[in-house]
Point group: C2
Chain length 359, copies 2
């Protein structure tokens, strides 16, 4: 992952930035719950605030969750040292803060992995030394993910070639990475090279990340797009208006199963029925060697999400709902996994792609 | 269609009723745009009001559109006779009113068919005689559709048998017919017989007819149900939680293609991928001999519908959208068409099922 960045367009948005040193710094986060109405940067100096931001989806998306978790550990370590309690208890307080970060949301593997990896790499260090090391680790992870986006952009653009009418689901763009995104990165690059890119944007019920976030960042970047209700897509495919689909992932399992935003499986089925390539773009940090298959992944349920983005009074009071946030797409439906290491066959994943999760 | 109604449950809701005679009467319509918040009956004495009610979806659903159109013709004839203009022009004024009703919405065939059929059957009559005849024709159509619902309930219940965990899309229930509905009728009957019916209700973007209307009438009838975002369904099927799907139709073409609410095709594809029966319930009045195949049907686009049922500010200002209201499901994906004449193979439709459209 050391290709030149010269040919890449700038990222249309910066969702996260650490400002300052480990002792005085803060984590700036773009509050994604307010988009596209308002671009407000939050400035967090307490790790518990970041846990809440993760839970309320102010910061979201597998790669960004990992990076936010890594930076929030710097805050947690500082809190542990500064607490009005014996220094001998700092390690225990830090461990509690780390646990709370790692489990803030259950599905994306990047978050628990980033926390575990930071703990492992700084174990045995104390005081300022550990603060510096945690910050350096978070910065390295951020740089690694930015480089992964660049590599995914190039590999994905090669794979798409002249397939420029591309469907995407949810938001796997600049808003969820420090770079150009995962699924959207190849589209930004193709557009930058002058290709006639047009993106079909699934609105992505229930939380409308496509309508709110993907349309927002594609609009900022000047990439042509059209928002559709999710179940419009199969009809477009049947009419020959979709060349390929590309989505991100929250976790790729050892057998190649992909866990991603609910509705991804529906896109994969429709692509298969119409012989359209279905690509999943994800950095190495999203591959989880510890999970054998999709059925083993905890699927977050978020009761009330649907109502949050609908007019009050739309549903009969008390109508029962089932609101899983993710679903599983079996490996056999995935044409290729686009990673920083190139395009991989999901049914023949090399063990090296799971390198990140060995910490 | 003369089976006894004794074993049927009552309809949970009355969406339409003609009140009075042809000269003094009015068409009462339940305003479906206000559901489930408010149950308000509109009382219409002008045919143009009914055109508007149809266009703004206050009255909706293929069978009900036909019946509303037939009753509105009574209003149109009365207006033509009462206008302060030569009686010799009454016929021309009536014809203009009828055209405006027939074309109020383009996709459901029931509406233009009901209007054409009423015109053909009362041609040559004048004055009160035609008023009476138009009212009698509308009442006969209403009775015919009520009987069709009862027959569909029985045939559909036989077909479903012990498949009681059933998915539906949009609203094809009591709200769109003078009886128990089309797709929902078999479920009401099975529930009435004590079967453990549980309905997975697709919320049905963009206008949320499932969340707003199907959940409303199932709730009134006490039928267990759970509302899901549309693209949750394939995951449920993969987990073995769905025994069958049943939907209504806006038009069934000569080759068996089914035109119905957008998203229906996605349901059919997911059913096929999981080997789950996909049933379409529709009365004879929805079968259109004049349309060879789905690709020939005008698909209504309703720009702005999505925004109407979402919080203001959710989408980036000016985000381009594509909002078809319907899609086409090829006949080969339909396990059976459930009609008042029994369960039919969509690939071998008898010409007799197109009887209604011969006027």
């Amino acid at each position: 992952v050391s290709e030149p960045h010269a040919a890449l367009p700038p990222s249309p948005v910066t969702p996260l930035a650490w400002q300052g040193g480990w002792r005085d710094g803060a984590l700036a986060l773009l509050d994604q719950t307010l988009l596209p109405r308002e671009e407000r940067m939050l400035r967090r100096r307490a790790s518990a605030e970041v846990v809440t931001d993760i839970q309320r989806l102010a910061v979201r998306g597998a790669p960004l969750l990992g990076i936010a978790g890594a930076y929030a550990l710097v805050l947690a370590w500082r809190e542990a040292l500064e607490a009005p309690a014996p220094t001998s208890e700092a390690e225990a307080r830090f461990a509690a803060g780390a646990r709370s970060l790692a489990h803030a949301r259950p599905t994306a593997v990047n978050l628990p992995w980033a926390v575990a990896s930071a703990l492992a790499r700084t174990r045995g260090l104390g005081g300022a030394e550990r603060g510096e090391a945690l910050l350096a680790h978070a910065r390295a992870l951020e740089a690694q993910e930015r480089a992964a986006c660049a590599a995914i952009a190039r590999h994905g653009a090669d794979l798409l070639g002249t397939r420029t009418r591309v469907l995407t689901h949810c938001n796997a763009g600049a808003l969820v990475t420090p770079g150009l995104g995962t699924a959207l990165a190849p589209l930004y690059l193709l557009h930058h090279r002058g290709a006639p890119v047009h993106v079909w944007v699934d609105e992505t019920r229930p939380l409308l990340q496509g309508l709110r976030l993907t349309a927002y960042e594609l609009g900022k970047a000047g990439v042509a797009h059209t928002v559709i209700a999710d179940d419009v897509a199969p009809g477009l495919m049947r009419q020959g208006l979709v060349d390929a689909a590309i989505v991100g992932a929250d976790r790729v399992c050892r057998n190649g199963d992909v866990v991603n935003k609910v509705g991804t499986y529906a896109v994969a089925l429709a692509c298969r029925a119409h012989d359209i390539p279905f690509y999943v773009a994800a950095p190495r940090t999203t591959f989880d060697a510890a999970t054998a298959r999709g059925a083993d992944v905890p699927i977050e349920e978020r009761r009330g999400d649907a109502a949050r983005y609908l007019l009050a009074g739309t549903a009969p009071p008390g109508a029962p709902t089932f609101e899983p946030a993710f679903d599983v797409t079996p490996a056999a439906l995935v044409t290729a996994l686009v990673t920083e290491a190139g395009a991989l066959d999901p049914l023949r994943l090399p063990s090296s792609i799971f390198g990140a999760s060995r910490g």
